[in-house]
């Protein structure tokens, strides 16, 4: 197994709500499978070669930070379009909007076909979703002021909480190996099944041997959370 590389994109700009936890989660899960992992913190001042990474993670930022990131990431527009199908990319919070066509009418990466705009009233609250990727509920939190008009390739179906926009029943975007959600925080730590599904897909693609490991504190915390809030049967 060769070295697996993760880019934590705009680590110093898009890091609002404990999102570093997701990079730790990816890295730990890969190491549990016996892989060697290297995480590169890259940002505005870096010259990024996306080709060398297996995983790219980008988290949530303030409205100002998102604007700085938006203006900066455009320099990689062509390159990102080229690698989008090959790489595992995970975006949480308002970072998802960078991959659509526009944010408040301003140019975005235009990789996926949806628009985003900011709204006056913040959307804040606990989330329970289901997804065709894994069984059991997904638990998450949202704290945002941006909405996305995503019409297809949904990542989650909302059981309780907030969809992409008021008209939708779905949240997030999943195309090939791109996973985007408006949820914030350590999503991949809180949802070990989802994390393992992503890691397994990656291993299968690379034809690396994958072993299922579920006796971890993360699984325990996930199960306890479901028990505490009586969510075990929230997803059929």
């Amino acid at each position: 197994m060769k070295l697996i590389r993760i880019a934590h994109l705009y680590y110093d700009l898009m890091n609002l709500y404990g999102e570093r936890g997701n990079v730790l989660a990816l890295s730990e899960a890969l190491k549990r499978q016996g892989a060697k992992v290297m995480v590169d913190n890259v940002s505005k001042s870096s010259k990024i070669d996306f080709n060398k990474y297996d995983f790219i993670y980008i988290g949530c930022g303030t409205e100002n930070s998102l604007e700085i990131a938006r203006a900066d990431i455009l320099r990689y527009k062509t390159e990102l379009k080229k690698v989008i199908k090959k790489k595992f990319i995970i975006a949480t919070g308002n970072a998802l909007s960078l991959f659509g066509t526009s944010i408040n009418g301003r140019e975005a990466l235009d990789i996926f076909n949806f628009k985003s705009k900011t709204v006056r009233n913040r959307i804040v609250g606990e989330q329970v979703y289901k997804t065709y990727l894994v069984d059991g509920p997904i638990i998450a939190f949202q704290n945002r002021s941006i909405i996305n008009d995503i019409n297809e390739n949904h990542l989650f179906e909302v059981i309780s909480g907030n969809a992409d926009n008021q008209k939708s029943k779905y949240e997030g975007l999943h195309i090939n190996n791109f996973y985007g959600t408006s949820s914030i925080g350590p999503l991949l730590i809180r949802n070990p099944k989802l994390l393992d599904k992503i890691i397994k897909d990656f291993f299968d693609e690379k034809k690396y041997p994958y072993k299922e490991i579920t006796d971890t504190p993360e699984y325990q915390a996930y199960n306890e959370y479901l028990k505490m809030f009586k969510l075990e049967k929230s997803v059929k």
């Binding site: 110093d12 404990g18 100002n64 700085i68 804040v124 609250g125 939190f141 505490m228 809030f229």
Partner: protein
């Protein structure tokens, strides 16, 4: 039972307000009613065990919305706001000003929302002349309410301590907090700001009125590289270039400079240096001042107090008298012991990552072997969301230290805390998950060593005190 009584009282109050609605349009009557309600709340305090600081002001403003516009304010009106430290700063300012003969009206109990400010102001207003009976009105203000209060009460001075991520589920983020403060200021207010904070320091570049700055020089504990991943202001607010730091005190607080434009911490009007926490003193612009606590954030509230008191005309000696001679006692909690082991209960808010971080640092820096009890049942006193993101905003890696013997995880979210500690690379045999709180004290006694620190949220402090008291009684018997 209590709830029924509460509902009956509220219904009576509502009924009284409704029938006297025309009268309540009269300011004098409103002021009297506010005082009567406050007295009523005071009498009922033993029943409800809560300070009713908000209720009287709430009813006053419902029926007489603009009463605050028509009062006569003292010559000096000071506001104190920021994400952390505003309570301690306000208390120390009140101490120094009162000591120097000023009559100060201030929110002693830390109740800092709009209706609480109304209650406070009306209680100290003469009913007929509508004059506030004070030389100084000093208000600790919650950032979210500052605009609504400043629409009514124009401060002559505003102290801003810092802006960091704080109660994210309620406040959003640091930019949002900053904008709320910035939008509420007009150019007639003199600002006294912490220039070590690049978010607060934006005001130096955008505010039309006078801005006075304070800051702390490099200390022996300053960091060369950021100590935390939690970073709210890495980039220049003017030109979006990454800021260069000379040193960090904590988080984004330190000395910084934009490599491209004019934005920088620069020289400050009031600078603290030569900090000696062991001997409790530091110097501000060459004057020695006493620190009433041996923690770093005490330097900031003492410095802010020195700055604002100087700005309103006190001499250095006047200020030093009440910082150095007649020292304000810092709040001391009852000291608990478990056998011969000291127990220190630290109350830190989960929702303010940088405050929490400083508490962890304080534990780490304390000499000797230590045991830590961590946990919470609810994330916040202010909201009911179970947002546990903050666990990853705080560098629990600090507890990955030889001097920490054991860490006990308690509370509803103990498994999430446990996972966080694992990610901080703390060995499993150091962490003890305690499902049953009745087992906590015996487990701590049997399985751990050293001084005990508790870092639990407000909702569990009472419970721990109860357990410790029971244990003390048990031991003395």
């Amino acid at each position: 039972m209590k709830k029924i009584l509460y509902n009956i009282i509220i219904s009576i109050v509502r009924f009284l307000c409704r029938i006297s609605k025309p009268l309540l349009k009269n300011d004098t009557f409103t002021i009297i009613i506010n005082k009567v309600f406050t007295f009523g709340c005071y009498i009922l305090k033993p029943v409800f065990k809560e300070d009713a600081t908000v209720t009287p002001g709430y009813y006053a403003t419902i029926y007489n919305k603009d009463i605050l516009d028509r009062l006569h304010y003292p010559k000096i009106v000071i506001g104190v706001t920021g994400s952390s430290g505003k309570g301690s700063t306000t208390a120390l300012i009140a101490h120094v000003l009162t000591g120097n003969g000023y009559k100060v009206v201030w929110n002693k109990n830390g109740s800092n929302v709009y209706n609480a400010a109304t209650t406070l102001i009306l209680n100290n207003t003469k009913a007929f002349s509508k004059k506030i009976d004070a030389d100084v009105l000093l208000l600790e203000l919650d950032e979210s309410y500052i605009k609504s209060i400043f629409n009514k009460v124009k401060p002559t001075h505003l102290v801003i301590t810092n802006v960091t991520r704080d109660q994210p589920a309620r406040n959003g983020d640091a930019d949002i907090i900053f904008n709320k403060i910035a939008d509420s200021i007009d150019s007639n207010t003199k600002l006294i700001i912490n220039a070590d904070d690049p978010i607060v320091n934006r005001l130096k570049y955008m505010n039309k009125g006078e801005v006075i700055t304070y800051g702390i020089a490099k200390t022996n504990d300053s960091y060369k590289i950021p100590m935390s991943y939690t970073f709210d202001a890495a980039y220049c607010p003017l030109c979006h270039t990454k800021l260069k730091y000379n040193y960090y005190h904590y988080g984004h607080i330190g000395s910084y400079k934009c490599p491209k434009c004019e934005f920088k911490r620069g020289n400050v009007d009031y600078e603290a240096k030569d900090i000696n926490l062991e001997k409790n003193f530091m110097t501000i612009n060459k004057s020695i001042v006493h620190l009433n606590k041996d923690v770093f954030f005490c330097c900031y509230y003492t410095l802010a107090t020195f700055a604002i008191c100087s700005e309103i005309g006190l001499t250095t000696k006047n200020i030093q008298d009440y910082l150095n001679k007649y020292i304000m006692e810092s709040k001391r909690m009852k000291q608990y012991y478990l056998g011969k082991r000291k127990v220190e209960m630290i109350e830190s808010k989960n929702e303010n990552a940088l405050s929490y971080l400083q508490s962890l640092n304080y534990i780490k820096k304390t000499n000797g072997t230590k045991t830590v009890i961590l946990g919470f049942d609810n994330v916040s006193r202010r909201y009911s969301f179970n947002d546990i993101s903050w666990l990853y905003d705080v560098d629990f890696e600090i507890l990955n230290d030889k001097s920490i013997d054991k860490i006990f995880c308690i509370g509803r979210f103990r498994y999430d805390v446990y996972v966080r500690l694992k990610y901080a690379n703390i060995q499993s045999d150091k962490i003890i998950l305690t499902d049953d709180l009745n087992h906590l004290i015996p487990l701590v006694k049997k399985k751990s060593k050293g001084k005990i620190f508790t870092m639990v949220c407000f909702d569990m402090t009472g419970l721990l005190k109860k357990l410790l008291n029971e244990e003390e009684k048990h031991e003395t018997n």
